[in-house]
């Protein structure tokens, strides 16, 4: 491989999986490589662990709000809309909103949801167990995140498919198969906002024990969220809560099928599951990159960076940094310690990390114990994206089993 071949803007490369040989080369030879762009000013690529931590921790120098968190550059008008999402805020605004919403995601709160999530997982596996085959992404991986996040928000069962369909329309921006027109996307945003508005109004009138009630009735600096703020929260949580956990669940099953020795360990000793989930998160983090924008001239890992330049953290590379992880390319469910950054670190540390861990443990626990011989029954088709390491289709077969309930 020649360094000149590296082009992280080329989405076709990501169709075959994360280009780890490129990242390995960058970590060793050019840890803050400059990536040029045909439509855009170019950006610095953070490929090493320590630099990723430094950037994530310094929200003043490396801003999420200045230019948003995607690589593509957007105009000021669109930035105003993006900045309504917490993802694209800096402190002190971000800290303020986060204090309001994090009440719904603390470990104790999530622990209360655990038994419900375990029940849902059993039900999901029940639906496919007797069939002996499934399309894993749609039949399994997408189900639990949608059910859990809707449960948490307080979306009634009959509305969940609607919210799920809207969130899919909004996120599939790069893949031609999911390509939706700007008009479709706009309609989906409007649809999501309308739905949020309707549910928010209902909970304002009659609060119940759900996250929407907390959001519409809670206060930031003595003020309630306005409609745009609340609707944006709802949209972000619905999107982030669906796509990411679905992705990791699909990647998890792919990894276990591709590493039969590791799956056998897990089948023999279910106590290894918690560690296995962490290794899956390290090995295939759902989010491939987030971007920051330098707010002043600075230095990072010996590289001069100018004010206004884009700095992009590539999590699959961070999670395989040789200086942090022994044999980083080995998938080892007993790896310890395992301080991966799949959830990021610092101010923007994934709000849903606890919820995601509970879900992944629940669904994988059911799958591994009840359908231990799942195999590929067709090609694994990946999402055409350098942002989400998604799988869009994965047909599996297995020995049919009875239902648990």
């Amino acid at each position: 491989m020649l360094p000149g071949d590296i082009n992280l803007n080329d989405l076709f490369v990501f169709d075959d999986g994360i280009p780890h040989d490129w990242f390995r080369w960058m970590r060793a030879n050019d840890p803050l490589r400059w990536q040029s762009e045909t439509e855009g000013a170019g950006y610095w690529c953070v490929s090493r662990y320590d630099d990723a931590v430094a950037v994530s921790r310094d929200n003043v120098l490396f801003s999420s709000s200045a230019g948003g968190t995607n690589i593509f550059e957007v105009g000021e008008e669109q930035l105003v809309v993006l900045r309504a999402l917490m993802l694209n805020m800096d402190p002190p605004d971000h800290s303020k909103y986060r204090r309001l919403v994090n009440k719904g995601f603390t470990p104790a709160r999530v622990a209360n949801l655990r038994s419900g999530i375990v029940d849902m997982s059993r039900e999901i596996v029940d639906r496919i167990a007797e069939r002996g085959e499934c399309e894993f992404v749609d039949d399994v991986a997408s189900q639990l995140p949608m059910m859990s996040i809707c449960d948490m928000l307080g979306v009634p069962v009959e509305d969940r498919r609607h919210v799920y369909d809207l969130s899919n329309t909004l996120i599939g921006f790069d893949d031609p198969e999911f390509q939706v027109s700007d008009e479709d996307r706009m309609n989906a945003s409007v649809g999501m906002f309308e739905y949020a508005q309707k549910l928010g109004d209902a909970r304002r009138a009659n609060p119940v024990d759900d996250l929407v009630s907390v959001l519409v009735n809670g206060e930031v600096d003595g003020e309630k969220l306005n409609d745009l703020e609340f609707n944006s929260f709802f949209l972000l949580i619905a999107l982030a809560g669906n796509e990411t956990t679905r992705t990791v669940t699909s990647q998890a099953m792919r990894l276990l099928i591709e590493h039969p020795d590791q799956r056998a360990l897990l089948v023999d000793d279910p106590s290894l599951l918690t560690g296995a989930v962490e290794e899956i998160l390290r090995y295939n983090p759902a989010v491939i990159y987030f971007r920051r924008t330098a707010t002043a001239d600075t230095q990072l890992g010996g590289q001069a960076i100018k004010k206004g330049e884009k700095v992009v953290i590539w999590y699959p590379s961070i999670n395989r940094d040789e200086s942090m992880f022994d044999d980083p390319d080995t998938f080892d469910i007993r790896r310890s310690p395992n301080e991966h950054l799949a959830f990021g670190v610092g101010e923007h540390f994934c709000l849903g990390a606890n919820l995601a861990r509970v879900q992944l443990n629940a669904i994988l626990g059911e799958l591994v114990s009840r359908l231990p011989d799942m195999e590929f029954a067709g090609p694994v088709r990946r999402l055409h994206s350098n942002f989400i390491d998604g799988i869009k289709e994965m047909r599996l077969s297995f020995t049919p089993q009875g239902k648990a309930t």
Partner: protein
């Protein structure tokens, strides 16, 4: 060694409790309690790990 908690940042992820259970406790209401504000020498290593691993960087050490 003195431990400072920024309660505006803390989200009770309880990593500190895992690393240094004699010093940190997250109670059932998701409040972080510092059990020993000035831990003895034998606890310093585990407290440093807790500070380093806090995903929200809510912990600071003072001499």
């Amino acid at each position: 060694m003195k431990i400072k908690v920024d309660y505006d940042l803390c989200e009770a992820n309880a990593i500190c409790m895992r690393e240094s259970p004699k010093v940190f406790e997250v109670d059932d209401d998701d409040n972080l309690q510092v059990l020993v504000e000035e831990p003895g020498e034998e606890l310093h290593a585990s407290v440093r790990e807790a500070v380093r691993l806090c995903p929200r960087q809510a912990l600071k050490l003072e001499d």
